[in-house]
Symmetry: C2
Subunit: 237 residues, 2 copies
């Protein structure tokens, strides 16, 4: 009469999830501590720790020293979105990728860009615009500023055949960044570039990347109508 064996951290994770779903541990419950669970499950505490930590990472449990582990009251679902290179995004769909350089100039960025790129102080930036095409159809219009303070080597680049992003990630690695998704309506200039009519819905991704405390680049990606981002939520198995 051996009860089901809990020998792997995944099986423990499943069992904990089962107890939560079965309302044995309703939201808000403080569950037993790791040592007790380890004894219940007949395994080492480290194994329990691994399982509970994974569930905490997923937002299902909340853990605090001394206070213990409780089932999250508000199951905030957490979705992990992969942001691939645009080239990969297109070829992964079985389409042919093409890059079309549009403009390049060195200038002082507008106030809003300067605020993040130069931390308010006046600075010079490299402004690059380009179009990425999927099997000859406009896919996304890229409008980018690169900090010449952080990435002076960019000044020597024309970006005529290689996209700025691909050059940057292999030359000026970033430590972190932030990203914003929004919806906008295509102004005439962008609609024309994307081959749609003004007023078409545009999915916009704005991204800024940093090397420690210094901003490297900020880019605005205007996706042609029909674009969407899909991903999964739930227990990262």
């Amino acid at each position: 009469m051996t009860p089901p064996q809990f020998n792997s951290w995944q099986s423990i994770q499943d069992e904990v999830l089962r107890r939560i779903h079965a309302r044995e541990w309703p939201p808000g419950t403080v569950i037993p501590n790791e040592a007790d669970l380890a004894q219940d499950f007949g395994c080492a505490r480290a194994t329990v720790n691994r399982a509970l930590r994974a569930l905490a990472d997923a937002g299902i449990l909340e853990r605090r020293r001394k206070a213990g582990t409780r089932v999250a009251l508000h199951p905030v679902s957490r979705a992990t979105v992969d942001i691939p290179l645009i080239r990969q995004e297109i070829t992964a769909r079985g389409l042919v990728y093409a890059y079309r350089h549009l403009s390049r100039r060195i200038a002082s960025p507008p106030r809003d860009v300067a605020a993040t790129l130069c931390a308010g102080t006046p600075c010079e930036g490299l402004h690059v615009t380009a179009l990425h095409l999927a099997s000859d159809a406009p896919f996304v219009f890229e409008d980018r500023w690169i900090s010449l303070t952080t990435a002076p080597a960019a000044a020597a680049q024309g970006f005529e055949t290689l996209s700025a992003n691909e050059w940057l990630i292999s030359t000026i690695p970033y430590t972190h960044g932030d990203i914003r998704f929004s919806a906008e309506v295509a102004p005439e200039s962008i609609a024309e570039l994307l081959g749609t009519s003004p007023g078409a819905p545009i999915f916009v991704v704005e991204r800024t990347t940093w090397d420690h405390t210094r901003a490297i680049t900020t880019v605005r990606l205007n996706y042609a109508p029909g674009y969407s981002i899909t991903t999964g939520i739930g227990t990262p198995s």
Copy 2:
């Protein structure tokens, strides 16, 4: 003259990142195996494993048994997006949350919804629409179908004062789901509900949640113009 101590998995992670950024291990490089690194760093292999596994989760390293660990060629950045309750989304901005029930009826879902909700077979669903307001301003229009096969208890709910989502998550927990972000222009019906003009840009979130293999609900959230999702990318420190 002790060299920098690598005693915590975080310090090892930092050191590995430093070597990657410093081009000591350029993209594509196969780095030494865990046992060797453990000796280099003067720590246990488990500690190295923890550090490298975290970097692999972040998409910076790729690991395969026998093949070893290599620096990712394409630094796919991975963003983690929290999907809170709409109530929380609004109150977190310091606004007053209000829920306005619009309609509720039992019917056969349209073909596209039935495809996911009932796996193609004919079925009955509960169709609920509602408006979430932030300090009296329309914030998001919710258009939801609930499977009465998976969640029969929903038939007894009016959803007049409690949002369907809040009832569902505390009654029919889900195991996983999928989510889609896109941009659309407001059709007249939705523009009116959101208090904007037709043609306004609408950020759309479509989400379907499942209990193992059975779909629970599929919802389409139409956010009022100006909405955006922000998050960070980089090494989860």
